[in-house]
Each structure stands twice: as C-alpha cells, then as structure tokens.
Symmetry: C2
Subunit: 562 residues, 2 copies
C-alpha cells in the first residue's frame, strides 16, 4: 500500500482525510463572534505514522489534515467569522515546521504528496482572504521555523513578538540540505518581496531573524514588545474584520460526515463512485448529476446544507482525489465519467450564479475552484470519457477540460439504446474556475486561438454532439463505436507502460501553459527544484543531511555543483 | 576534473568553448548576401568525448559549441545577414536530437550543464530575431526528433516537407523516459501554443507527426510538397529579410582569437583574470576597466573590432564562465572584483548609448545582455566585493546586482593608500540588460520597494561610497576594515560547507523573483522537472530507459506516481 516505509499509528491501511473538531489532537478551533482562533498545540504522541514524536509543535500530514478541515469549517460552519488568529498553544515555540524525523523516514512519494497537500492548504488560506473575506493573522511567539514560518507566510499579517528570542527562520538549507517545501522561497520573494540578497542571508541563517530586523527586512509585518502584543493583535483584528464583507448574521451549514462506503476495489459516495481496476492501473471516477432540481431559494439551499448537491459532490470528489493521491500510488490514470441530466446540472449552475452574492453559494463555487485546481495538480494521467448518459455540462464539463485527453463517442454504442452523448457549456466555464495560472481551463486550452473561447461561449446551453464538440475544440477525439473501445484501451495500456516520473514531469508542463502566478510558481519552480533535491544524495543519501539529522554526525556532501 | 566519466576525444583535460568556422566538424556556414545557411552535417566520428558516435545528425556539446559560435559570427562578422536557413546536410534526417549514448553515459552534472548551454544557444536564436533582425527559418527534411525539433522550435518559421515520411517528434518520454530538455514542452505550449491535449498526444507519440497534421496542430508553420519546397523557402526568406533593419552595407568585425593564457590555477585574458583557490573552492573573477577612452566615432569602433574594450571583455567573461561551469565543478563561489577607472567605464557606456542604432553597438549591448543572463543562470554562489580601486560602474555594476550578496568596504583598508571604493550607476542599469524574467536586476532587487529604483536613478553618475550604496539598497553589506576580511572569509567558508544541490535550488528561486517569461519558465519549470527526472531510477537506474536504450532490453519501471 501507500506507505510501506511506515505504519499508520491508528492501525489503518489508508490515510483518511476525514476528521472533525471533536477528533482534533493538534489544533483547537474556538469562535468568538467575528474572530476565530486556531491554536496549534501539537500532541507529541499524535503522529499519523509510527516512528516519530511531534516535538516542538512540529507537524506531519495528520496535523495538516486537521488544519485543512478547520479552515473548511470556518468557511461553511462559521459564516460570521472575518478574522482567524493563528497562534501557538505552547510556550517558547510557535511551530518547528514539518517534523524532520518524519521526513527523514518518509518515501520520496510521501514527501512530495505531503508538500503538495500542505501547499494547497496554505493557498486556501490566501484564497479565503482574497475571495471570502476571511483574513488570517499570525501571532508569532517563540521560534517560528521552516514550515512554521511558511504557514505564517500564507497569512495576511504576521505579528512577531519582540522579546529578544522569538524569531522567524527558514533553516532547511543549512540544517537539512533541502529547500523550504511549502512555498517559502516564493512567498519571501514574490509575496513579501524581501530583497533577494536579504533573502539569501535569511535562508542560510539557521537561527533566523528576530525583532526589528525581521520587520525591516519585511519578513514580518510588525515586531511588537510583549506588553503590547495583545492590544496590537486586537487592533489589527478589528481592522481586518472591518474590511470583510462576510454576513453580520448568518447560520452556518454543518459539514456532516460523508456518506461513504469503502470496499477493496471501490469507494462509493452518494454522488460519486470510484472503481479501481488495479490490473490496468486505472481508477474510474463516475460523478452523478443531481437527483432533484435546485431548491427554490437561498434559504432552502442553507436548509439542505451539506446535502446540497454541488456541495456534497465537491466534498466527495475532494476526499476521493486525496485518497487516490496518498493511498493508490500505482494508479496511472484517472478516468472521469458522468451520469445524469445535463439540464439539471446547468440548473444548479444557474442557481449558484443567481445567488452568487450569498455567502454559501460563494463558498460552494470557491470550493469547486479549489477542488478543480487539486485535480489539475494531481500527478496522474487525467482522461475524460464522454459517453451516452453522461452529464458533462457547466461545472462538470470542467473535468473534461482538466483532462490531459478527452474522448467523446460519435453516435451510439452497438446494442445500447441510449441517445448519443452530448456536452454542454455554461457560463461557469468562462470565469468561475480559474486554474492556478490565473486563467480558465478553456483559455489555457485555446492559448493559440483565443477566438475559440468566444465561439464556445456562443454555444452556451446547447447540447453539443461529438462532431460539434470536436469542431469547437472541446474534446480531443470524437470516435465512433467501431474505434471507441480499442482506442481507449490502447491509450490506457500505453499510458501505463510509460515511466511514471516522466509523465509527471510532462503533465506538470503541458497542463499549465501561458501565464504564471505566485501559486503556479510554487507548484512549478519551487516544487520541482525541491523534488530534485529530495532525490539527491546530499539530502537523502546515507551520508546526507536529512538522513543524519539528530544523529550528531555531520553530513558528507558531494561538493560538485550541477 | 570535470568529466571523470568520459575522456575528451581530443586528449585535452578541459572542454574548450573557443572554435572558429575553419575548425567546424559538424556545421557549415555559408553566406550569400542577406541569406546565411547553416548546414548541419554531423561528423559521426567527431564526438567531443570518447565512447559514442554521432549518428543520424545527433549532437553533443561539441556540435552545439560550433552552433553557438556560428550564431555569434553571423551577428558580428556578417552584419548584412538578415535570414539564416537552418538545414540538414544529410538525406532522410534533419536531426535526431541529443545523442542518446552520450546522454546515457554522461554524469548528472554534465547532462544538466549541457542542457543549460543548449538552452542558452536556442534562446540566443530567438534574441537575434527579436532584437537584431536576424530571422531564422528551419527547413525540415527527413526526421526531426527530440532536440532536433527543439532547435526548430527556436526558429521563426518551420517549413516541413510533406513527403509522407518527414516528421517532427518529441520521442523523449516514450523512448527514454525523460523530458525534452531544451525548451521543447514550453515552446510547444507557450510559443507555438499547441492545444494541450494535442501536445499530450504529440509528446507521447514516438514516431511524431507528419505533413498536414503537423501544420494543423501548429507544430510547424507549413507543410509543403517536395517540388515546392525551394520556392516556398525562398519566398519566406525574402519576406523575413524585408522585415529586418540590418544594414544594407556594412563591414563585419572579425571575432579574432581570444588573448588567453591558461595556467593550472589561473586563466588570464586581456581584461579579465580568473584565479582559482581550490582549497577554498572559490574562483575570483577580476575584470579590468578600459585602458583608453572610447573611440572618437562608430567607424573607429568598427576599426578596433574585437579589441574594442566592451566586446573583448564580454567575450572573455563568456569564455571564463563557460569554462568554470564545465571544468571547475567543485567551485562553490564566484567572487567578482574589478579594477580600473569608473569614469572610463561610464564613458564606454555613454559611447554605446550614443551609437545605439549602429549595428555593432547594438550587438555589443545584446552580447552583454546574454552574458549577464548567463551569469544569473550559473549555479554557483555569486558574490561581489567592492574594494578600493574597483570600477563597478554602469554595465560592470550589473555584476554586483547579479550577485547573491555584495560586500562594500567603508573607508580604506589599513596600510592601503588607495581611496575608499565607490560604486557608480549609469543609464545602462535601468533598462539595457533585462534578466530572463523580463525586468532589470535593479527592478528585481526592488520588487518590494519600486520607489528605490527611482531613487537610484537620481544618483546616476555619482560616486557612491559604501554608506550611500547601502542606504540606496545597492549592496548587501557595508563593512569597515575591522570586519572586512573576517566576515567575507566566514561567509565563503559557510557557503562551501552547505549542500551544493540545496544552494543550486535556493539560488534558482531567489534570483528570479517577480514575473515569469517563456525563457524563465524553461529554466525554472521545465529544467527543474527534467533535472528531477534525470535523477530518477526510471530514467537512469540500471533498469532505466535511458540506460537501456539500444540494448534491446525493456526498461523496468517503478510504476508508483509521485
């Protein structure tokens, strides 16, 4: 299974991303009116895997799963919250970053997937600030090192207590011979815009930077004496709260437990089924359209809560994608299928559009935006099959556009009395779901022929058959019954025969043409360099710094520059 | 030395980047008025290293050194050339790309440095088109695979003969389990803007794409029948020539042999000395200012030719940087020093500015732009020491701004009667030399405080002492005599103690804050992923595809996705 190198501490065989505040071991979420506090107080004995202790508020994937959950709950369950205070529940340490012994003993795959997930969680903090009016303040007391500082970097405002010892640092390079892996370098240069030579000094200084110098170098927003800390934090919180447009009075929606059945070869949710064909190394994700028309009003949507189709499906897909990333490493391709009524899907899109200023509708669309980005960033071949009975329309059509290739059937399958499939576009395909490069999937697709975006827009709402969809450039191949099965089988076999690594690298390049953003830079430039370093003997070899950390032995480096 | 894994075929111990058309073994450069032809006709027995044959017009570093040289000669020696035709001298094959046996037997370091140099050469082809009016047409007859197609991608226009067999392809992934390493993926998506799903099909199809489909997918600009090939090429060449503003009548400048003495620990040129302190793992580059004022006229500049100070120094620095990259792998830091008269340096800058529309002045500034980008991309720690007697002014001050850190002396050194050092800015620092991210080094430096660019501009021409330079943010540290030697020594020792790989990754991130361009994407996203893959067992392991190529054995892949 996924983690041959380590056993899950809870005895399970799969990492599970579902949790709730009642089960948190490392974070405490408290809400007081428009201010929420997330207190990091890591349970040393609460590591997700066996073999290490989470000392000094260091974290592993389990800690981050709780953080991601808490952020989702603030969005959905606490619509009045406008400011989140990120604080440490331990004296003298804010957070020591990712646990080094965990990293040292983790497989390359786990390291990379762990960094990807933590990156997505930090991006979600910034997304909440920009689009949801949930602003995060980080109150740094004690040492804030590595991934701890990278978490701080994702917030809107960092207050560092100026007490002569509290500090921020990125000690990865001097200490471990790796890079900060969760956006640190990019946020230092591109978000906080620290001067590059100061950044060089900072990133090579194990003990980090304290007090006024940290503020002068723009590493933190302010350094305040201990006596003034609480008043400064309260003042900043008020100021950020005043900028937010979250509702003054609104009732949240409980993110109830997912309706999920996990079998050996399948994972069944209410609106999603995942089937593993392990011999072929494929996982088929079949999403189902809604089984009822949209509610009559926004209040009815709130009343449906977590059962509201777009929200429930988004949560199911998110869970399934994460499960696959961490627990099904051998899967080469994800096959997206759909089943349902296109008009009903578009009706839900229209409902969300009609209520786009309602906090819940907004959160649901933002959830889909993040989910679809997670799909883009999943390092498996993505293929969409547009078959009879499918409902790839509007929001669901984004799965087709996220795919590396899509196949659409021309006409019917022999012996099948369903009508030929159709694809339908909606307004959602033209701006609601930008990729991490800042533009839509259709804009990315049509970089070389921007007029094709307009042509597609003119067909919003139409049932497009395979030939029309191919003419509009919306699918890769339109195939008739004679070729359908063989072509797809050959493609999937071929894909499974290629090097997994080369495919990962190729897809990471081809999926993100065009502009770059800070987010895409993190996932491209920084992540790729980090992955390279995570393979180099200087870090992970027998004499490498990451391997030897804590043993008292000095690493022996190959000094040749590449 | 550099290439323990292979011996240089010529018996030398260092790769030498100096060549001239009389010594070419693989390319033939012919000039006919405004049209130059570069014919690729690789000498199978002419490999730079022992152990492989350059079959099917495949290339190694030696082939690319000739190409880079030829392009420089077209710029400087043939100012009337407006169009370069890139053609194959062999039947049925245009170019098979980088030689696979060479790659399979090369060290990781050589592979990475080789790809970097070939990337720089391809970027220079595009730079010549955009800024020098030298447009390149690629005439593809026969198979054009991998690095061959990546070379074609760097040209302005690709004509593919539609003869039923000639094709373009990127077979790296299916054949070798690596990526195209010379910008291929990025140019397919971002330059030619091939639709991402077609790009996926193309990059996984070993045999490539032929004829009309290649044109329809935008992989080539046109596919023409054999009978019409020459007329089509001639017509395109005329059209591109008409767009060029290169001079109708001008005499070129011979790029004469560099005045160079290579000793065991030093490399001496007319205006540059490189001293290796191998125990400390440093190389000190001391550049010297001009020894005479600028010439009186553009004609006098042409008459000085390769001896003209800015041109001579640029060629010397280029040679020295390349030598260090390939032959001095153990060097951790490059220390830039200078020696000369700041006013004289600024006078040469002013001369080039006054004659900026003269073809030779333009070429010299473009040469400096490319050279400085090469410095930025050199994976060694860069440090500048601004000491008494130095002449970091204008163009030479860019070396200070390219450095990861700079140190400037406050006052004098004890026992030294030279006046305190000064730094001087010139107009050249504000636009002549953009980095690969599209903005100047000062703009990159001051991303977080753009007003500092303006403040610096207000001080153009002033002699800035260390305190002033530090106040303006132009140097990292201003140190007095008491701290000078120790601080720098400790810094260099510390740097040499860090992991070479982690430094490479960190510097590649911190040096390029802010915007991204196609060029920076190639060096960041694509290169970093390729470097990662070049470390993965699926490519380079005992059972990896790159290692087993040509043995008839099938690679055994680790199928887990990362």
């Amino acid at each position: 299974m996924a983690h041959a190198e380590r056993k899950l501490a809870n005895g399970a065989t799969r990492v599970d991303f579902v949790t709730d505040p009642g089960r948190y071991r490392h974070w405490r979420l408290s809400v007081d009116g428009e201010i929420a506090t997330l207190l990091l107080d890591v349970d040393e004995q609460g590591g997700l895997f066996e073999g290490y202790e989470l000392k000094l508020n260091s974290y592993d994937l389990g800690v981050d799963i709780e953080l991601a959950d808490a952020l989702e709950r603030i969005r959905f369950e606490h619509p009045r919250v406008r400011v989140v205070l990120l604080r440490s529940g331990k004296p003298r340490v804010f957070c020591a970053g990712a646990n080094i012994r965990m990293l040292a003993g983790a497989s390359h795959t786990h390291k990379v997937n762990f960094c990807k997930f933590t990156n997505e969680t930090r991006n979600a903090i910034e997304d909440a600030s920009e689009f949801s009016g949930i602003h995060t303040l980080c109150v740094v007391t004690g040492s804030c090192a590595g991934g701890g500082y990278e978490l701080a970097l994702a917030t809107d405002h960092i207050v560092l207590v100026d007490d002569g010892s509290s500090s921020v640092s990125l000690p990865e390079l001097p200490l471990l011979a790796v890079l900060p892996g969760t956006g640190g370098l990019t946020r230092v240069t591109d978000k906080r815009k620290v001067r590059r030579d100061y950044a060089d000094v900072f990133c090579t200084t194990e003990e980090g930077v304290k007090g006024k110098r940290a503020a002068e170098w723009r590493l933190v927003d302010e350094a305040v004496p201990h006596t003034k800390l609480e008043s400064a934090v309260a003042e900043r919180a008020r100021a950020f709260a005043a900028k937010s447009e979250r509702p003054q009075a609104a009732t949240g929606v409980a993110l109830t437990a997912l309706d999920r059945t996990v079998g050996p070869d399948a994972r069944r949710y209410k609106y999603l089924t995942v089937e593993h064909r392990r011999a072929e190394r494929t996982a088929t994700f079949t999403v189902r359209g809604p089984d009822a028309p949209p509610p009559a009003s926004a209040d009815d949507m709130v009343a449906q809560g977590a059962a509201f189709w777009p929200l429930e499906l988004a949560r199911e897909l998110d869970d399934a994608i994460l499960d696959l990333r961490f627990n099904e490493l051998d899967t080469a391709a994800i096959i997206f299928k759909s089943d349902g009524d296109r008009a009903a899907v578009l009706a839900y899109d229209a409902f969300l559009e009609a209520h786009k200023d309602h906090w819940l509708a907004r959160e649901i669309r933002l959830k889909w935006k993040r989910l679809l980005k997670r799909v883009d960033l999943t390092s498996r071949t993505l293929v969409a099959l547009v078959e009879p009975g499918s409902c790839f329309a509007g929001t669901l059509a984004e799965l087709v556009f996220a795919a590396d290739r899509s196949y659409m059937l021309v006409g019917r399958l022999e012996g099948d009395n369903q009508p030929p499939p159709a694809l339908a576009l909606g307004p959602a395909n033209f701006g609601d779901y930008p990729m991490s490069n800042g533009i839509t999937r259709l804009e990315s697709r049509f970089l070389g022929e921007p007029e094709s975006v307009g042509k597609a827009r003119n067909r919003i709402g139409d049932d497009l058959d395979a030939d029309e969809a191919a003419d509009l450039g919306l699918v890769t191949f339109a195939l008739d019954d004679i070729d359908w099965e063989d072509e797809i089988r050959v493609f999937l076999e071929e894909r499974a025969s290629f090097s997994a690594d080369a495919l990962t690298g190729m897809e990471a390049n081809l999926r993100f043409g065009g502009p770059e953003t800070m987010e895409s830079k993190i996932f491209a430039r920084l992540t790729a360099w980090q992955n390279w370093i995570f393979q180099r003997p200087n870090a992970i070899g027998e004499e490498g710094a990451l391997r030897l950390y804590g043993t008292g032995r000095k690493p022996a480096f190959d000094t040749r520059r590449v």
